[in-house]
């Protein structure tokens, strides 16, 4: 029987009570007496020289309190990249300064060069229109190939548009080249991993507050990781001492990566708050979100797969250009490198992998991690080229994958791309996928589609990803400038209920439900008596926040460690109360008892004792019951999966309909299967969106053509099928205490190649010689591909 509480129970999400009844508290909901509004003047050209900014007319307008320009921040630090990448020749990447406000030059449409602070938003907007900026438009650098060949630069001071030229694993380069040269069969594929706009439902919003009486700042902001934001503002940008700055991320309406990063608007509202002694609020409108949130993906890739006569994989060689946009966002250099190149062995025993990534500056919005971050790019390249290879050599695509899978007895498995996979069973996932997707009846379904004049295709994919980001020791060697542990404090209150302060931030993931399930299970108490506190740096220990499917694997492990400490101490208190020795105390169902006797005290009695320490052995035990643990993982976790998809293509119009989508994932142990299923659903929606509809398009002048929902397509309910989601075949992670792997990004990683493979299968079944279509596979693109075939 399924459990109704604790680990494994599909407990309904507790946070949904406030979200579904309109009682969520988002940053923009916070209203402070005397607050004023900031509105930004943003560049309408992609590349321009700022010749002058005349703010005099604007400053004289009603309600205007202050106008700030790049000049005001000339002495302030830049917003740094969190990861140092060295090029193949050993030189460090180019790291041009990313200022709070553009200074000297504007570098993308939407780049802010001034901000007006006024009593009301309307007044600030009026004043922004009155700023007279003389900006000389320069030729825009948009296309990556052009950027690498150009003799003018996004950042003049570095004299190149190439940020770095990275090789992985450089020592394998020659051997990989050799293997490809001599192979029986080489399959080559050129593809584009399309740029995506994250489109969180809640746009970014920041409120700066300064108290001259204490010299303290408070920043309320839409962040996935308030401590990281505080660290960046304190240590790099503004130099505000960390103990004088509180960063609070209240309810956050979706992030998908775009709210990991620190943005200039956050520093600006703090500076303005200090200057004016007023609370300053900025809320992005949807156009600003399109133009300035860090975008995702945007790789142009050539991948080659070398095989022997039997179809054994001999080598993968990848050359990628990764667009980083106009400035380096915080994780922009890690995403196309260590979160991408290290995954390029996939689920396979291939002996050689070589990846070359050139990161390119362009006059476009910065590009950074977006749900999956690097791993979707890796999986897409691999699983598309493998599919193409199977068709070229006439082998069943599932058979070819199985032939090259790492087998269950090979763990721990050292992949050719440098990672050590701890557990998995890819054949078992594939078996389960074939079963739950009812693959056996596919041909019958294909006939039904044919009768309707539609082409049905079956696409398959096997993925592995590295998440639970990340072991500090490992990422430190690889160039990370931060540690990637997390932290938790478990506070047992005197009356026996608990507050658990965590470094991870919940903005849709369900931590407020899931973490109490873990603690409740360990203590044998009702999870409803446990509350999670997150998002406020003045309340929570220093944790690194939420991204990279890390919350449960890393922060949840810290929760486990802190709870273990609570249990140890509580046992000592119970031993004292029961006049027994610590070693004889057992905890079961919330009751401490002396082994082999009927002597016991409840968890609640022990909690009370800790805070009312009468007759307490103060020489051995401190009063109180509160423990903190930091957890730094030994390795990444390695979720894997087998996905399949069936599409129907209308041969007359090119329209693709996803009819069935099956995701079988190995997430290790599952704490709350309903929450996990929900995470997979969300990821699948975004992955299908990338595959079929989402298209970020800049024109040659660097204007974003898809800058609103009139032109940027988000997947909607009727674009998506009912999903078959299965996570029953988990193999526990071997190195974290919960045995969990992380499920937040999997759906977005596994689904895009599955959909594309299905469309190619459909077209080929209809006699069209189409071997590849770039995403998004809009009706127009599919129709064009069919007509050119």
């Amino acid at each position: 029987m399924p459990k109704d509480t604790g680990i494994g129970a599909a407990t309904k999400r507790r946070e949904d009570v406030r979200f579904l009844t309109g009682r969520g508290q988002y940053t923009d909901d916070i209203q402070t007496q005397g607050e004023c509004a900031a509105v930004f003047a943003r560049s309408t050209v992609a590349n321009g020289k700022i010749k002058s900014i005349d703010t005099s007319a604007a400053a004289a307008m009603p309600g205007v309190l202050a106008i700030l320009t790049g000049e005001d921040f000339a002495e302030v630090g830049g917003n740094p990249a969190g990861w140092l990448i060295n090029s193949r020749d050993g030189t460090p990447m180019h790291e041009p300064k990313r200022p709070v406000l553009a200074h000297g030059k504007v570098r993308h449409v939407g780049d802010a060069y001034a901000a007006v602070i006024a009593e009301t938003v309307q007044q600030a907007r009026d004043a922004v229109e009155a700023i007279e900026a003389d900006i000389e438009e320069l030729p825009a650098i948009v296309d990556m190939k052009d950027a690498l060949a150009a003799d003018h630069y996004v950042h003049d001071e570095i004299g190149t548009n190439q940020c770095f030229d990275w090789g992985w694993i450089e020592d394998n380069r020659a051997a990989t080249d050799e293997a490809i040269k001599n192979a029986h069969h080489v399959t080559t594929l050129e593809l584009v991993n399309n740029r995506l706009v994250p489109n969180a439902m809640e746009p970014r919003c920041s409120i700066g507050h300064y108290n001259p009486g204490t010299d303290e700042y408070i920043l309320h902001t839409t962040s996935q990781n308030p401590h990281l934001t505080r660290l960046l503002i304190s240590a790099f940008v503004m130099g505000i001492p960390e103990n004088k700055l509180t960063v609070i991320a209240p309810d956050v309406g979706g992030g998908f990566g775009s709210k990991i990063y620190h943005y200039g608007e956050e520093a600006l509202v703090l500076a303005a708050a200090k200057k004016l002694g007023r609370t300053v609020k900025w809320t992005a409108d949807r156009t600003e979100a399109f133009l300035t949130d860090a975008h995702g993906r945007d790789h142009v890739t050539k991948i080659e797969l070398a095989m022997d006569e039997e179809g054994n994989f001999l080598a993968f060689r990848t050359e990628t250009m990764a667009n980083v946009g106009a400035y380096l966002s915080n994780f922009s250099t890690a995403t196309p490198t260590f979160l991408h190149g290290t995954l390029m062995a996939g689920n396979y025993t291939v002996p050689l992998v070589y990846v070359n990534v050139k990161a390119v500056f362009t006059n476009t919005a910065p590009v950074d991690a977006y749900r999956g971050a690097g791993r979707p790019e890796a999986t897409y390249s691999l699983e598309r080229v493998i599919d193409k290879a199977a068709r070229e050599i006439g082998m069943d695509p599932i058979e070819l994958r199985r032939k090259n899978f790492v087998k269950p007895d090979q763990y721990p498995f050292a992949s050719a791309a440098g990672l050590e996979y701890d557990s998995g069973n890819y054949d078992a996932l594939m078996d389960q996928m074939e079963k739950v997707a009812d693959k056996a009846a596919f041909e019958a379904r294909r006939k039904e589609s044919e009768a309707k004049g539609l082409l049905r295709g079956f696409g398959v994919n096997a993925y592995i990803e590295a998440c639970g980001i990340a072991p500090s020791n490992l990422v430190g060697v690889l160039g990370s400038r931060v540690g990637l542990y997390d932290a938790a404090t478990v506070r047992v209150n005197a009356t026996g209920n608990l507050s658990v302060m965590v470094g991870a931030h919940s903005h849709g993931q369900g931590h407020e439900t899931v973490f109490p399930q873990v603690v409740g299970e360990m203590l044998g108490i009702d999870p409803q008596s446990i509350d999670i506190v997150h998002g406020d740096t003045s309340k929570i220990p220093f944790g690194m926040g939420t991204y990279g499917s890390r919350s449960l694997a890393v922060c949840g492990s810290a929760v486990v460690r802190a709870t273990e400490k609570i249990i140890n101490k509580a046992k000592k208190i119970a031993a004292h109360m029961l006049e027994a020795s610590d070693a004889d105390i057992e905890l079961k169902d919330g009751v401490f008892s002396v082994a082999g006797t009927d002597k016991s005290v409840s968890f609640g009695e022990v909690a009370l004792k800790a805070y009312i320490p009468h007759n307490f052995p103060l020489e051995d035990i401190e009063p109180g019951l509160e423990e903190t643990a930091f957890y730094d993982p030994a390795n990444f976790t390695y979720p894997s999966g087998a996905y399949c998809c069936e599409v129907e293509v209308d041969p007359e119009t090119g329209k693709v309909r996803v009819d069935r989508m099956t995701a079988v994932d190995d997430f290790g142990n599952v704490i709350n299967p309903m929450v996990v299923t929900g995470q997979v659903h969300g990821g699948l929606g975004q992955g299908i969106g990338q595959a079929l509809v989402e298209n970020t398009t800049y024109d040659e002048n660097g204007q974003l053509l898809s800058a609103s929902y009139m032109d940027y397509t988000m997947p909607r309910a009727d674009d998506l099928p009912f999903y078959i989601v299965d996570h029953s075949k988990g193999n526990p992670c071997t190195h974290n205490p919960l045995g969990v792997k992380g499920c937040g990004e999997a759906g977005a990683i596994g689904s895009p190649p599955t959909v594309v493979n299905a469309v190619i299968d459909a077209l080929q079944s209809g006699g069209k010689n189409v071997t590849h279509i770039d995403m998004p596979m809009t009706p127009h693109r599919v129709w064009s591909a069919m007509n050119n075939a």
């Binding site: 309307q122 907007r125 229109e129 156009t287 007359e652 119009t653 329209k655 509809v693 298209n695 398009t697 053509l705 898809s706 929902y709 009139m710 032109d711 940027y712 397509t713 988000m714 809009t778 009706p779 127009h780 129709w783 064009s784």
Partner: protein, 262 residues
């Protein structure tokens, strides 16, 4: 948005009078105008809301025609016209989402004449009459290119009269983001011939496809247009589809509309 005043007249006469003020503009359902104002792309000094004008509301049948008040919402048309003119009700039922359909009006849609809007195809495809506070305008004279109509300054659409055809159908191939028509084709068969109106496709806005009308007037069957092709010259090319693709879709959607006509 910039600041503006708003008036809520109860009669056409009062509305027309209110629109006489400098920089005044009619407000229908606001589904086009309000987003435009929010983006600060227009700055009328005064909005004259037509939603309280009762004589511009509702649907009436009269001698083979159906008359729809200019301030009637898409939702009302969708729910009340199905019995007499199912193709028109279907068209209205597939405009935007429920919020848009419950606010947006037929008068606003025809006055705006967005090149990808649905109602212009129905009006032109039915040979409807646009009735204003001043005159009656035949659909063939009314549509004058994208966002351009025969309406004069301050003139308002008080009603639209549609002759009810024997059979009709509207096929909308959606632009995936906006879900307006990438290409929409309205086919209507009358005793004296067939009309085919195309929206979404052309730089000239909604227009008739006369070659298809001739072919279908001779034989009302999808095969009748098999030999025809649509010239891509004047068609729209954008990130959602090339002119060639739109030309192809015009033919495909016309065929499907003929098949589905009822």
């Amino acid at each position: 948005m910039y600041a503006f005043d708003i008036e809520r007249p109860a009669s056409v006469a009062d509305a027309v009078a209110a629109l006489g003020a400098e920089d005044a503009q009619a407000l229908g359902g606001g589904q086009t105008l309000i987003p435009t104002l929010k983006q600060r792309l227009a700055a009328p000094s005064r909005l004259v809301s037509l939603s309280g004008v009762t004589e511009m509301q509702g649907v009436a049948s009269e001698a083979g025609n159906i008359r729809i008040g200019g301030a009637t919402t898409h939702a009302t048309v969708a729910s009340q016209v199905g019995g007499t003119y199912p193709a028109l009700a279907d068209l209205a039922a597939n405009i935007g989402d429920p919020a848009v359909r419950n606010r947006g009006t037929i008068g606003g849609s025809l006055a705006n004449n967005d090149p990808a809007a649905c109602y212009p195809a129905a009006a032109l495809g039915s040979g409807a009459t646009i009735i204003t506070n001043k005159r009656q305008i035949a659909a063939d004279d009314y549509f004058q290119g994208m966002f351009t109509t025969a309406l004069e300054e301050g003139e308002i659409i008080t009603a639209v009269s549609f002759p009810v055809p024997e059979k009709a159908n509207y096929q909308k191939f959606v632009q995936p983001a906006s879900r307006f028509a990438l290409v929409g084709v309205f086919v209507a068969k009358y005793s004296d011939g067939v009309r085919v109106a195309v929206t979404g496709a052309s730089n000239e806005g909604v227009h008739r496809w006369s070659a298809a009308e001739d072919a279908l007037s001779a034989i009302f069957a999808a095969d009748a247009i098999a030999g025809l092709s649509v010239a891509a010259d004047d068609l729209i090319s954008d990130l959602h589809g090339s002119a060639d693709y739109r030309a192809h879709l015009v033919k495909v959607m016309t065929g499907r509309a003929v098949k589905a006509a009822s």
